[in-house]
């Protein structure tokens, strides 16, 4: 076999701390290496052409590129090798950037390690065999998980593109956090007036199926062919017959039920429609508050319902949806601000969250758009906003900037002045972060036109005294302690991934970070993809975002799905497990360990054998380490190939000794 080795400088990225010329020189003496050279940028057009030319001129059978991670350019070089007429799997990559040059400064040691990695790649490539993809057809339906503004945008774009869309929303209405907002920055336009029509579009679009009050239970399959088990949670109301007339709400005697839509500052009835513009506009019963469920007596809603839609015995319903792609748009939750004991930790009624304040500002909120202190329902005159509560604070495990709090706090300060002209607003901030279009202008307007008093510094504590909330902080610009006697304190609470996002990520087999946000495929170049083919991200599920960014990402995810579905057939990755029927004894241990359900039992001449479903296999290799017979092997990652790599590494150690 004739192997070519190409060692990349990556500018100074690799060549700065690795002697690439020496690596190429060392490669020349390795077995079966017929050609080796260093190259400035292997991935550039001349770099790739150099590889193609060498393969053709020297009649090479395979190529090793020593450069960056295969995640970045593995597929680039496979295409290069294919363009030179070789099978794309006759290619190996040695990662001498992330694994070598970026992590050590000792050029001698780095060079030695780079040579070792190249030696291992060559040893493995010598045993590679050409592999061929299979084609499989795709189901051109898409599921979108989460009906906030990002999910709505993605759903509408996909549906307008002609796809069948299944939208799964865990609460009883779509709209997400945006539906709770009174106004949006920096235009101060009515949130529900711009979102409402989009929500109606979702309800009316012929291509969209909406499952509200539903959650994803399990996900099977692979890109192009997913089966998703969706649990439609019991609402105790038959939504097919419910007309959303609201007669049940009027008569429900349990009027002090918790109201999650109003962030628990208002109350609602046990059977309720979350808000007048809800989509779907259907009632549902909160079991924990309902007198019928708690005591068995009542049943008034069933009596007054004109369409007999109430069904106290309703059970959760499981449905299976078959889709080809999934967009996760599960959004965010506020971090648990109760860890801030110094701000009251839920002890003081007049310390509220920004989202609670937003509900208070909203005309359809629990106070009808009037700002009232929760403690005595009086109109507050002095309001203190505290920013960065759960943002940029390592001490509570939230080191990142949530990014939109500066803006919504400015908006709330402006709205406060509109609602109560003789009020005074104080904003305690760390920095103002307003980098969007018309954003900085907006925060300046809050200060200059609306007279919000911005104080740079953290608040150390909030406590009640004589009917006021004393806010003690520091003005770091004046270098002085500040105490403000406030009537109401609003905490600008930061965001974290929505509750349950970690569990969903595991079902979708995508990565998530320690704050519950889903990880994108590449932070710069794959912002809506995940590392699982066919699963995309939109909105705050990927990280905190304001509305314009969420909408943009929703559209971007839709575009990715549309481009995926522009083909009728997809190519499978042939680097999957393969069963050696002669060795297989049919114990089926491999099937038990396979996390993807890619191995099934089959009968060959009366004997039980394992069989790999190639389109489902993800090439993880767990089965190969389970098989006692060594009968199941991952193609191009066989036991022999891994041993060859180990031997290559050991042989270099013997040489040195």
């Amino acid at each position: 076999m004739k192997i070519g080795v190409f060692v990349c400088h990556c500018g100074s990225n690799i060549a700065g701390t690795v002697d690439v010329v020496q690596v190429a020189e060392a490669a020349k003496s390795m077995p079966e290496v017929a050609f080796a050279q260093d190259t400035m940028y292997a991935c550039s057009e001349p770099g790739q052409q150099g590889i193609i030319d060498a393969i053709k001129e020297k009649g090479l059978d395979g190529a090793v590129v020593a450069s960056c991670t295969p995640r970045m350019h593995g597929s680039t070089f496979m295409r290069t090798v294919a363009r030179a007429g070789l099978n794309p799997y006759m290619f190996e990559m040695a990662n001498i950037r992330e694994h070598v040059s970026w992590i050590g400064k000792d050029k001698v040691a780095n060079t030695r390690k780079a040579i070792d990695l190249v030696r291992m790649a060559v040893a493995k490539l010598a045993q590679n065999r050409p592999l061929y993809s299979q084609s499989f057809s795709i189901n051109k339906r898409v599921m979108i998980i989460g009906g906030g503004v990002a999910g709505i945008q993605a759903a509408l774009d996909c549906a307008d593109g002609g796809l069948e869309v299944v939208l799964v929303e865990k609460t009883t209405t779509i709209g997400g956090k945006m539906a709770k907002l009174d106004k949006t920055f920096p235009t101060v336009d009515c949130s529900s007036c711009i979102l409402g029509p989009r929500m109606v579009d979702v309800a009316q679009h012929p291509n969209i199926t909406l499952h509200a009050s539903a959650e994803v239970d399990e996900v099977f399959g692979y890109v192009g062919n997913y089966q998703v088990e969706v649990r439609k949670k019991a609402t105790y109301v038959n939504w097919k017959t419910c007309t959303g007339c609201g007669a049940c709400m009027e008569k429900c005697p349990s009027k002090k039920s918790r109201d999650p839509f109003n962030e628990l500052i208002g109350t609602t009835t046990a059977i309720n429609i979350p808000f007048p513009q809800a989509i779907p506009k259907r009632a549902s019963i909160d079991r924990d508050s309902c007198i019928k469920f708690k005591t068995g007596k009542c049943g008034i809603c069933a009596k007054v319902c004109p369409t007999k839609a109430i069904d106290y015995d309703q059970q959760d319903e499981m449905i299976t949806e078959e889709v080809g792609a999934i967009i996760a748009a599960t959004g965010f939750d506020l971090m648990d601000w109760h860890v801030y004991g110094q701000y009251g930790a839920g002890r003081y009624p007049d310390v509220i969250t920004s989202l609670q304040y937003e509900r208070m500002l909203s005309a359809s909120g629990p106070t009808g758009g009037h700002i009232k202190r929760p403690s005595d329902k009086k109109e507050p005159k002095t309001i203190v906003f505290i920013q960065c509560v759960g943002s940029r604070d390592k001490s509570v495990g939230r080191p990142y900037c949530t990014g939109f709090c500066c803006m919504y706090t400015a908006k709330q300060a402006i709205l406060t002045k509109d609602h109560i002209p003789d009020s005074e607003s104080y904003v305690f901030y760390m920095d103002i972060r307003a980098p969007g279009k018309m954003y900085d202008e907006f925060t300046r307007r809050a200060m200059e036109e609306y007279g919000a008093k911005y104080v740079r510094g953290r608040v150390s504590m909030v406590y009640p005294q004589d009917g006021k909330m004393i806010v003690r902080g520091v003005d770091t610009l004046a270098g002085a302690q500040v105490e403000v006697e406030a009537d109401l304190v609003v905490l600008a609470v930061g965001a974290e991934g929505a509750a349950g996002s970690a569990q969903l990520a595991e079902k979708l087999r995508i990565s998530y970070d320690s704050y519950g946000f889903f990880m994108e495929g590449h932070p710069k170049l794959k912002p809506v993809e995940t590392n699982t083919a066919g699963v995309y991200l939109a909105g705050c599920a990927q990280g905190p975002k304001d509305i314009p960014s969420s909408v943009a990402q929703g559209s971007a995810a839709a575009a990715k799905v549309l481009s995926l579905f522009s083909k009728d057939q997809l190519q499978s990755d042939p680097q999957v497990s393969k069963v050696d029927l002669k060795r297989c004894v049919g114990c089926m241990k491999c099937a038990l360990t396979c996390p993807f359900g890619a191995i099934k039992e089959t009968e060959v001449r009366g004997e039980i054998k394992a069989q790999v479903i190639e389109t489902i296999c993800q090439g993880c290799g767990i089965c190969t380490s389970t098989c006692r017979q060594g009968a199941i092997q991952l193609q191009n990652f066989t036991d022999n190939q891994i041993l060859a790599e180990v031997n290559a590494l050991l042989s270099s150690e013997t040489e040195e000794a």
């Binding site: 004991g341 110094q342 930790a345 406590y463 009640p464 005294q465």
Partner: protein
């Protein structure tokens, strides 16, 4: 609570002088609650507030000596001290000596090395965690019903949280719960962990007058009849200096400042002199004498809305 509670006891210097009544009531209450205190033999000063500002090694050696002495006692489960300042010094030394290099430097100064095996706790923590409000309550023979208290923990009993490892560092509740267990009412007191001015009483009296004055103001405006403390220095600033504070701030507080052990002692049936009430500068006797009448009034007030509810 089946096992015998036996502790090494570190009294600290203020217990020998300025806070004799704390020391006296602590010993009495612990005995009544079945907590055996074994004095650390030949204990020495913890270094108080100056030592650690001069040299961390020497400061830790001062506390290290006491830790090592306590470790030689038999059958003790922890080292207890009533004074938060002593507690801080003992705990900080023990914490820093987890670093073997630092421990070696300190041990080099000592006659015998610190093993760093015994936990260090405040008396408050031991009563709260090892006995507990639920076990204390049935032992009460004189419920302090009607007494409204502002529980004041001081700034160092719970902080820094990583070292003190006791209760909530912003809103501690141990003393609140114990006071409720003996029948008193703990009013909301938001300045529980604020500084009283500490030893600035010597150098900058104006600072203490401002900070301690604020504590008294807030306690009063939250409806407290008295403050209850767990720290000799806090008690001294609030009680002994109350006149100075009144003059400086143009206020007229006449607010008794108890140690929590004095109140537990009273509730357990001890006499005022057994818990050293006469040592308090602001006399609490009038307040304590008024308790039966207050309890009666409270019971009456509680009855009225209840009977009203029954009618409707």
């Amino acid at each position: 609570m089946s096992q015998k509670l036996r502790y090494a006891y570190y009294p600290g210097c203020s217990g020998q002088g300025t806070s004799k009544e704390y020391e006296q009531s602590t010993r009495a209450v612990c005995e009544a609650l079945g907590m055996e205190l074994v004095d650390i033999p030949d204990w020495s000063c913890c270094g108080s507030s100056p030592a650690h500002t001069v040299d961390h090694r020497l400061s830790s050696a001062l506390s290290g000596r006491n830790l090592a002495l306590a470790e030689r006692l038999e059958g003790v489960s922890a080292i207890l001290t009533p004074c938060p300042s002593c507690l801080t010094n003992l705990k900080v030394s023990a914490h820093k000596m987890k670093d073997p290099e630092f421990a070696a430097e300190v041990n080099a100064l000592l006659d015998f090395p610190v093993r760093n095996t015994l936990p260090v706790k405040s008396i408050l923590q031991a009563i709260y965690e090892d006995v507990g409000p639920d076990a204390l309550s049935p032992k009460v023979v004189r419920r302090l019903t009607g007494l409204k208290l502002a529980p004041y923990y001081g700034c160092i009993m719970n902080r820094p949280p990583d070292i003190m490892e006791f209760d909530d560092h912003e809103n501690p509740i141990a003393m609140d719960r114990l006071m409720e267990a003996v029948g008193a009412e703990a009013v909301p007191f938001p300045l529980k962990v604020e500084c009283c001015g500490a030893s600035f009483g010597v150098a900058r009296r104006d600072i203490v007058q401002k900070l301690s004055g604020k504590l008294l103001d807030t306690a009063a405006s939250n409806g407290a009849d008295a403050v209850v403390t767990a720290c000799p220095l806090c008690q001294m600033n609030l009680d002994l200096r109350q006149d100075q504070i009144n003059v400086a701030n143009n206020t007229s507080h006449n607010m008794p400042v108890f140690y929590y052990t004095q109140l537990i002692g009273l509730a357990l049936g001890m006499t005022p002199s057994q818990v050293g009430l006469e040592k308090l500068e602001v006399s609490p006797m009038a307040l304590l004498d008024s308790l039966p009448a207050r309890a009666e009034a409270q019971a009456q007030a509680a009855k009225k809305p209840a009977s009203k509810g029954a009618q409707s």
